[in-house]
């Protein structure tokens, strides 16, 4: 390759990435940095009218947010959603992938498509559908419980059940995505391993325990961390189904950020919540990288 074409390629390379780089710099990188700065100011309704009115307040937002019981309540709600919802969702995804990957399974394409359908549906729509399914009197869920002889549950009106109700919706909506990634992971495990184990007399459970699970470890790590990060961003479900209620039981970090920022225009405070969300996400990604380096 001559020096001339090398230069031409370098020039074309810069030209080709310029639109993407410009858009990402102005509409993504700049706002992220801006968010960090905003969290150090008392930017509020007055500053929305006149940005010059915002003052630098150092870490005052962080100390007041971290001293606020409502923040910790919101954090605990989000953590409940993440720590119950993410593992449950991953378990359902793995179970569906294992069923589909079974060598005797027929109509795989059809079942795979059906299981994936909730992923492509509009979250607002299905949140509305589930809101009616959860209706204490006319909802199909309580009707089903009644047929089993169980007492009706006020799913979205009882603080004990509202978060579990949202978790059930989230698992139903999302499991198809990780199921595909687990299926891809299962296909990378060589059949020869299973055959060799069968010849050695290993039963189904031992093959699963000693071949499938270790073979899926890298996939599971990826799925685990991306799901954890995604579940921390809970917003539309409580916005549509409960507005954060009852008694604040389903108020999430992102809902708090939205309300502080766009309902009360306390943007400094809202940015502080956003920065804390970013910190949690970065820690989760960092843990993933460390674990990945440790695994062979």
């Amino acid at each position: 390759m001559s020096a001339g074409t090398g230069r031409a390629q370098a020039r074309a390379g810069w030209l080709f990435i310029t639109p993407a780089l410009f858009l990402l710099a102005v509409f993504f990188a700049l706002p992220v940095v801006g968010g960090l700065l905003l969290s150090l100011t008392d930017f509020d309704l007055y500053a929305v009218a006149d940005p010059g009115a915002a003052r630098f307040v150092g870490l005052a937002n962080f100390t007041s947010v971290l001293a606020d019981g409502a923040f910790w309540r919101t954090f605990a709600n989000t953590l409940t959603f993440v720590l119950l919802g993410a593992p449950l969702s991953i378990a359902v995804s793995l179970a569906a992938a294992l069923l589909l990957d079974h060598r005797r399974a027929r109509l795989r394409g059809l079942f795979r498509t059906i299981y994936f359908v909730p992923v492509v549906t509009t979250l607002v729509s299905v949140a509305i559908v589930w809101r009616y399914l959860y209706h204490p009197r006319y909802g199909l869920l309580n009707h089903g419980l009644g047929l089993l002889g169980l007492e009706p549950i006020d799913w979205l009106g009882d603080p004990r059940f509202a978060m579990p109700a949202i978790i059930i919706l989230a698992v139903w909506k999302n499991f198809g995505y990780n199921m595909l990634i687990f299926l891809a992971g299962l296909q990378t495990i060589p059949d020869a391993l299973y055959e060799a184990a069968s010849i050695d007399g290993a039963g189904a459970w031992r093959r699963f325990r000693h071949i499938t699970l270790p073979g899926l470890a890298p996939t599971a790590l990826f799925v685990g961390v991306t799901t954890l990060i995604g579940f921390f961003q809970l917003f539309a479900e409580p916005y549509v189904m409960t507005q954060g209620g009852p008694l604040g039981a389903t108020r999430s970090l992102v809902l708090m950020m939205y309300e502080e920022g766009f309902r009360w225009w306390r943007m400094g405070l809202a940015s502080t919540v956003a920065v804390l969300l970013l910190a949690i996400t970065v820690v989760a990604a960092f843990v993933q990288l460390r674990l990945q380096r440790r695994s062979p």
Partner: protein, 274 residues
């Protein structure tokens, strides 16, 4: 019965039960959307409409003017798709095939941005767009969908598999770099572009939080935002809300079903390499 056939029977029973549970909420939505007004609010809850009607759909388009919101969503989703395929394919191709100084370090920096949740940028982005007078405009809604680090990442991974000889042959024939991209590379990387197009369309069509923030004028709302505010006023009108939900889901479902082979393969590839 042989042990193998019992196993197959249980397996398919489990698969079918999963399919029923997955589809039940959506099938009930379709059924309730065809019920007479008030029919769904009864005990025990009816599964089928006694006298199927399209009145709820007519009401959406006439009384509630949902077609306006449908058009807004369609316009945004299509524009986002076209722009994102263009912008991300150019960048992803360059990161894979056009060497320049500092390229790989730049790409590493971009990849680090993948962990930043989009919500973190939303408050300052709102203030920035206000300065640019883009609040309450469709251009403002579009802005975050145009370039995507994930999209660039997917195109780059896919393009790395294209042999250099193919591109060099075109260069020897005197093609410029843009011609090499358009005439030689694009046809080869088409599958990943279809994946990105489907991805972008679905996320722009289904998105809720960003259009909710940036569009304050109710008449301009996208379909999901309009639907969410409708449920506030019409919470008793179950049948109407189910029709609105189905109307919102259908285009997304259609795009998925048409492009599912390529789309699904793209997700599986992204997951393994991620």
């Amino acid at each position: 019965m042989k042990r193998g056939s019992v196993e197959a029977l249980l397996l398919h029973a489990a698969l079918a039960a999963g399919a029923v549970l997955t589809l039940a909420p959506l099938l009930w939505m379709v059924s309730a959307s065809c019920m007479q007004p008030g029919e769904a609010n009864a005990f025990p809850p009816p599964l089928w409409p006694s006298a199927p009607t399209v009145a709820n759909y007519t009401a959406l388009f006439t009384r509630l003017d949902m077609f306006r919101h449908f058009l807004a969503s369609a316009l945004i989703a299509v524009a986002a798709t076209v722009a994102s395929v263009l912008v991300n394919s150019l960048a992803g191709y360059a990161f894979a095939k056009l060497p320049f100084r500092g390229r790989d370090r730049l790409f590493g920096g971009l990849a680090a941005g993948l962990v930043v949740p989009a919500q973190v940028a939303m408050l300052p982005l709102f203030l920035l767009l206000r300065e640019l007078h883009l609040v309450n405009t469709y251009a403002g809604v579009l802005v975050p969908y145009l370039a995507s680090i994930f999209g660039i990442f997917l195109v780059r991974q896919y393009t790395l598999g294209v042999p250099d000889e193919l591109l060099d042959a075109a260069r020897v024939d005197g093609a410029g770099e843009f011609q090499v991209f358009r005439l030689v590379a694009l046809p080869v990387i088409k599958p990943i572009l279809v994946t990105i197009a489907a991805f972008t369309f679905l996320s722009a069509w289904n998105d809720f939080m960003w259009p909710l923030i940036i569009l304050s004028d109710g008449a301009k709302h996208t379909l999901p935002v309009a639907l969410a505010s409708l449920v506030g006023e019409h919470v008793q009108d179950t049948e109407l809300m189910m029709a609105g939900s189905l109307l919102t889901i259908l285009p997304a479902l259609g795009v998925f079903l048409v492009f599912q082979r390529t789309y699904v393969r793209g997700i599986m590839a992204g997951g393994i390499k991620g």
